[in-house]
Symmetry: C2
Subunit: 361 residues, 2 copies
Amino acid sequence: MKQVYNFNAGPAALPRQVLKKAKEEFLDFQDTGISIMEHSHRGKHYEEVHEEAKNLLKELLSIPDQYEVLFLQGGASLQFAMIPMNFMKPGEQSGYILTGSWSEKALKEADKFGDVKDIVSGKASNYASIPDLPSFSPEEYSYVHLTSNNTIYGTQWASFDGIDHPFLIADMSSDILSRRIPIDKFGLIYAGAQKNLGPAGVTVVIFRKDAAERANEGLPAILSYETHIKNRSLYNTPPTFSIYLLKLVLEWAKNLGGLEELEKRNQEKAQLIYEAIDQSSGFYSGHAARDSRSLMNITFTLKNEELTKQFLKEAHEQGFYGLAGHRSIGGCRASAYNAVPLEACQALRDFMENFQKKHDK
Amino acid sequence: MKQVYNFNAGPAALPRQVLKKAKEEFLDFQDTGISIMEHSHRGKHYEEVHEEAKNLLKELLSIPDQYEVLFLQGGASLQFAMIPMNFMKPGEQSGYILTGSWSEKALKEADKFGDVKDIVSGKASNYASIPDLPSFSPEEYSYVHLTSNNTIYGTQWASFDGIDHPFLIADMSSDILSRRIPIDKFGLIYAGAQKNLGPAGVTVVIFRKDAAERANEGLPAILSYETHIKNRSLYNTPPTFSIYLLKLVLEWAKNLGGLEELEKRNQEKAQLIYEAIDQSSGFYSGHAARDSRSLMNITFTLKNEELTKQFLKEAHEQGFYGLAGHRSIGGCRASAYNAVPLEACQALRDFMENFQKKHDK
């Protein structure tokens, strides 16, 4: 099999061990003679997978007891809609912190349901950094929404120390499980699985139970968080195979040493590439301001369009996948999620250095 | 590996050949060195899968050009909500034909958005048959909704000859791809994949393009059919692995001989079990009226609760999975979807006959 380094932004690399294990039991799950995919979601074999996935996530992220873990469908995009549908009320205002395209999209959906305020936006500086927050009082907003990591611009909240609100909501699609987070600061956290957690098709929601009291009534059952809490994410048929893979990814993360170890690895991995940028005397230039650099998505450009194209072409030929920047901003992006091994980042750093030697004239 | 016969109601059996093929290329899709799951949904490898799945479905179901095929998430339950959100308007009434629990659920969701009428209901006869339709004029309803096959009660529309409406909507979750259907009678057809099409996690929608003109504006992007039509079901990250498996299932169906062959096989399979019921002199009694019998879900009871339990126990011991009736009505149910082989139905018939010999005293 050819040697490749998968830096895809999502769907992204999955741990090799996880894929091997899934392949091994693909046709015959736990001696039942059928695939886990063919099991009923109401049967004990799947039920165990479902509960184990939930418990492992609680354990790994140190989720306190007053939170529920839900497995939904529809990705972050459906959460953009479900949040205002469930929590916006006439006469109230919700606050959105804009740090990139995804938070813009989240705001745009909320705007369809009521009064929305962009508390602060990094747009003027082309989302190169996480902006300083203006002070606000909790009463101003029914909830406050932020995006913890911005895949397109390559920025990330280094810490959540400066922000406090009784109902803080975070889209953590692209950095969940990559570092320790103070869950209890948040009322609701959501994340599409396809970056750090598993394959596309399942969305994790971490929901502080008291938030259910704030929810609007009369919603379609499938779009009400309460439905899923009451039914333990089994209201309708869940994406069973995606949740099974999520469980395997969580087991892998636990065996590795959990969040502390993953955080350490992710820092080390990202540092390799940021160093290659910083030591290139401007041959590579990073998009994100240093204090806002993402450990997940490292965005950079080369001196000109032509050189960028050449870089992407040669990289692809040498087995580096997914290094083109998002179609909305161009340039280059290396997504070094949990499952991307250190060796891939070392290889990329070496490639970047060699490419510079060859082309920096 | 042990010999089992999977009669699960959904998630259900998948064709063995499909699972084998998926296993084979699980770690290395088309010599790319990574799994199809790890490919970007914007990359050419996945794009090809996506388009092929769409084209195969169009070909197999003879879907005319004026229809779009969409791959969404959220199952039929999300369609129950999206349909009224997109198509109910003030001052108009929509009509629902009630043939079981799923159509009841669909109506209940629509009722949250406007004026809904149950055109006819089979509830009084415990949903044992597809009721005769009262005549109505097209202007009475903005759309008319039906459920083509009723998994819980084991009934199915034998034909759609008696029903005409310019915007007819059908939930075909449990019998799509099992027989030929007159697509052009319908404005919208939807189906969760986990019975006849693939694993749980993807929902197929067949959408007559002119229906987009009827749709309400201002909806959340993810809940608007128009969004998905415009973006070829790539507005957000689709459940790529589920769609890949769907593609393999469709290839399998095509190689088998398409709908005509599947229809023949399904008739043959169901007949084996219905005969065992009919020839049992009342030892087994079918739930559905003869003219409404489903080829997909064969529901029956035994003389008493105790015997039913014994039947399910012995069947399970002999490798028959999923024969318990839905928790809402009890009894027994054999779901003989496309991927259930003839041999499984023969084995079940034999088991039923032997069980009767042993216990019919």
